[in-house]
Symmetry: C2
């Protein structure tokens, strides 16, 4: 498959993890968010919204978009190992946890939002970082409250194998690290993050291991 | 089923539409967002994140959370009429369109975000409204670009029967109306919105038709 992504894009990171878990080979084309390449005509012809990632499955010219929609596609077309449990109620829980991270927190910390805060409201960089930290910490708190209270939580967010929820938790926790959020008040999130990154599929997908990332 | 919601909550609106489309009877318990009831202990025991909606299916004590995860649950447990097409690529498109509205736009305009802008950045009410309009218009533009360019767009977002994407488009356009966004640059969005609200299932779920809503 052909993935359009960028090292720092947490949404691209999610898709990379799923491709790795499913054992699907892919090439990644870099769309440099810092240079604004996602907004140029060449990429917009693939993704009219001008956001990352996009994915082309081999043999069909239609691009897939929005990371969670791509994860569902990969799970439907490559069912092993499954990224969702079987029972509808459990599937809904996994999707709900995924959305807490990917829908309620992540869209608030992306470059286009930080840029608006600076340009329209004169919010300086330290305050923009505080903004990012606030929403990422709120996401951690929501995940922690759900995970800690539910007996279905196991080694991973739901039972003992990774699901969509873990992919989104891992990207959320990586984002929290990039923003230097103190995640010690969220021990279940930290424990599951560590379980995720012990897996090669997660570890090698990490933003800081991609071409173009800053050296540690 | 038992729904916890509020008239102005666009996420609750989405679940109401799906319940109506599926012909599922439900009672709605009001959680007053303007009074902050979603953050009180009583509701947090149901929804630890303190957000709307939550849904209880009859005969099981576990609450469902996050509107898109609830919609998927309803579609899996009550398959008729389907809210997703059959082919994985088409399902992914529908979910992607739904996420443009529900994940990339809606989380930016909710009360907790508007409150943060006022309290932490001293952003006044007119500027907060401009913020809301900006992100809702961006969502319309992204939806319009995808819908207008894709031959799979029909009477509704995908073909000629309503899907998850239409539920999210309808809630997005209702949000745009609440914020007084000029949606005339997005004729496909307007056309599909009108097709949706011609259906009783959408029309009677509308925020302004719920108990507590301001009179027209």
């Amino acid at each position: 498959m052909k993935l359009y992504g960028y090292w720092r894009s947490l949404a691209t990171f999610r898709v990379r993890i799923a491709l790795n878990l499913k054992g699907i080979a892919y090439d990644e084309t870099i769309v440099d968010l810092h240079k604004g390449e996602q907004l140029q005509a060449a990429y917009r012809s693939i993704n009219p919204q001008g956001v990352l990632p996009s994915l082309f499955d081999d043999g069909d010219g239609t691009p897939l978009f929005q990371s969670l929609a791509i994860l569902e596609y990969l799970d439907e077309t490559h069912p092993q190992p499954p990224l969702l449990p079987r029972a509808p109620r459990d599937r809904s829980r996994v999707r709900g946890l995924a959305l807490i991270a990917a829908a309620d927190a992540h869209p608030l910390v992306v470059p286009r939002v930080r840029n608006y805060l600076g340009k329209e409201f004169n919010v300086d960089e330290p305050a923009r970082i505080a903004w990012g930290r606030h929403w990422l910490a709120q996401g951690c708190a929501a995940l922690e409250a759900n995970l800690a209270a539910d007996p279905r939580t196991g080694r991973y967010c739901h039972g003992d194998s990774p699901t969509l929820a873990d992919i989104c938790l891992a990207s959320h926790m990586a984002g929290a690290k990039l923003f230097d959020v103190d995640t010690s008040p969220y021990p279940t999130c930290e424990r599951i993050r560590d379980a995720c990154f012990a897996l090669e599929a997660f570890a090698k997908a990490h933003p800081l291991k991609q071409p173009g990332a800053p050296k540690p």
